[in-house]
Structure formats: C-alpha cells, structure tokens
C-alpha cells in the first residue's frame, strides 16, 4: 500500500510535510547522539508510516543523509571527534561500495518485476531486521567489556599498515580498513542507509576508536557514502527532493539537541542507549513483517 509510489510529495500537503519534519526531528536527535545518519530508521519509517515505496524511500533517504551528515560532521569536527585519515580511507572505499550496492538494488528490483512488489518489500524488510539485530547484538556484547587486547585491524596479519595519529592508533591494516568501508558502502547503496548504524560499532570493535571518536568519524564517512549513493539513485529517478528537505528541516534541529547530550553522556552509557534503540527498531520492524506474513 503506497500513497506515493509514483508521485512526488506535494508542497501543498502541509500535514504530510509537518509529519515528515517531526519524524526528521526525532531521527536527527539520534544522529547527534550516536553518529548514525538515521537511514536505518528513515527508510522503513517512510515505507511503514508514510506509505512511500521502497525505491523512493531509499533514494530520498540518502539525499536527506547528505544534509544531516554534513551538519553532524561539522559539529563533531569542532569537538575533535573526527579521525581524518580513517574518514578518507573508509569513506573512499564506501563511495565505491555505495555505487555497487545501488547497482545491486536495481538488479534486484528488476529481477522481482512489477508483479512481485510485495515479495520485494518483504525481502527488503527482512534484510533490515537482520541488519538491526546484528548491530544491536554486537553493541550489547561490547557494552559491558573492557578492552584487553588490540583491536581486530591491528592484529590482522595483512599489510600495508597505516597509523591513525589523531586517535593514537598505530599499525592498522589498510586492506582491512578498505574492506570494511567497501562492505558498509555496499549496504548503504543497497538499503539507502548511510551506514552509520553499522559503522559506529565497527569503528569501535574492529578499528579500535573510542565511542565518541567513532560517532564523529562515522558521520564523516556516512557523508561521503551518501553523496555517492544520492547521485546514483538520483540518476535512477529515486530521489524526491521535497520529501528529503522536509525531513531535513526537522532533523538538523534534532542533530543539535542530540550532539548536546552526546558530549555529556558517559561512553558506556552511550553504547547501551544506542543498542537499545537499534533493538527496538528491529522489534518494531519484525512485528510488522510477522503481521504481513502470518495469515
């Protein structure tokens, strides 16, 4: 059931625009708090709450993430939370991955055909549930631990290696960083998410950044990946600028509120809240999926 499957959002539809702005504000608070672009909530939210078709929700979400990512990155750069070298390496790989992911989405959509739109939607929703549950599990598991050994990319026996002096990390595997960026970028292009929901736990667990550094660095990478994804989806006609801007008006205000609280929260507490929100989003999405699938 899609209200906007084939039509752009009408500027005269004030209640819809206000609803989109309010939804954007709520997601913007999470962006400032946790360094996630919010695509993992925006895309299923646009589909489930506003009845917008998946391709339009995905393309417009990426355009929205460009704005919210830019605001968040600027804010966290001032707070010295962005690791520039990791941002460029991971972001460069994510840009390539985002294009590959968007191409995969086109193939997938064409493969299902117009007669099987329902099946396509169910598959996309299922992928989202799996992704969110995996992220929540990763973060929950890590929240109670203290670091006893070097992070994965320092232990990975695969050179060449790079140093990340801004965060005091030496000998990080460059191929490992590139593979991480490529994988997150591919998911970004495929699912219309910026990738922050995965990047933040990966930057903590795999690269070895602190939660606050991971939040800032993730936003920089998300910004680069979402620019690339927006161009690709714009060429395919999947971006609705009015929709994206309505979300953005609310979210850029929300980002400020979230970043304010981010600076005042303890790192472990930040991780726990993040895991709870991701888990709740997964449960809501899974419940909707079960309602559709069960007779």
């Amino acid at each position: 059931m899609t209200l906007l499957a084939d039509a752009a959002v009408d500027l005269a539809n004030v209640p819809l625009l206000a609803g989109l702005a309010a939804f954007g504000f709520a997601v913007g608070v999470l962006t400032g708090l946790f360094g996630v672009g919010g695509g993992f909530l925006i895309v299923p939210g646009l589909n489930l709450l506003f009845g917008i078709a998946w391709p339009a929700a995905i393309g417009s979400s990426l355009a929205f993430i460009v704005g919210t990512g830019a605001a968040g990155t600027a804010r966290h750069m001032r707070m010295r939370n962005v690791e520039p070298r990791a941002t460029l390496i991971l972001g460069g790989a994510a840009v390539v991955g985002a294009v590959l992911g968007a191409l995969a989405l086109d193939r997938l959509e064409a493969g299902f055909g117009e007669a099987n739109v329902g099946k396509f939607n169910t598959l996309m929703q299922g992928i989202f549930v799996g992704l969110l549950l995996l992220t929540a599990a990763l973060v929950f598991r890590r929240a109670g631990e203290t670091r006893s050994r070097p992070p994965v990319l320092q232990r990975l026996p695969l050179g060449p290696r790079v140093d990340l002096p801004h965060v005091g990390l030496a000998g990080v595997s460059l191929p490992g960083l590139l593979a991480t960026g490529l994988a997150v970028g591919a998911l970004s292009g495929l699912l219309g998410i910026g990738g922050g929901v995965l990047l933040v736990p990966l930057l903590i667990l795999v690269v070895g950044l602190t939660p606050h550094q991971a939040v800032g660095t993730s936003l920089g990478i998300v910004l680069l990946a979402s620019i690339s994804g927006t161009i690709k989806h714009g060429l395919a006609g999947n971006v609705d600028l009015v929709l994206a801007m309505a979300l953005l008006v609310g979210s850029t205000l929300g980002v400020q509120v979230g970043a304010f609280f981010c600076a005042r929260l303890h790192a472990k507490r930040l991780r726990e809240y993040f895991a709870v929100i991701v888990f709740l989003a997964a449960v809501a999405l899974a419940a909707d999926l079960a309602r559709k699938l069960l007779p």
Partner: protein, 42 residues
C-alpha cells in the same frame, strides 16, 4: 545539462542546508558562551 543540475541539487541543497543550520547554531553557541573554539572543546 538540466539533468546534471537536477542531480546536483539533490546533493547540494541538503548539504548547504545542513551546513547553514550548523553554522547558525554555532554562532548562537559562541554568542551565548562568548568563548574561543579551543576553550569550547576543552
């Protein structure tokens, strides 16, 4: 050409909006606290 402008607007309008709002909020923060960027970070 029109298509290129349309695609550019998908990226540039959200980007500029995000940066402009952040700039305005930063100005407001500085006015309220009247501190330098270094002091703000500390």
């Amino acid at each position: 050409m029109a298509k290129a402008l349309e695609i550019a607007s998908y990226v540039l309008l959200p980007l500029l909006w995000g940066l402009a709002v952040e700039f305005v909020f930063e100005l407001l923060r500085r006015r309220r606290s009247d501190v330098t960027p270094e002091e703000d970070v500390a």
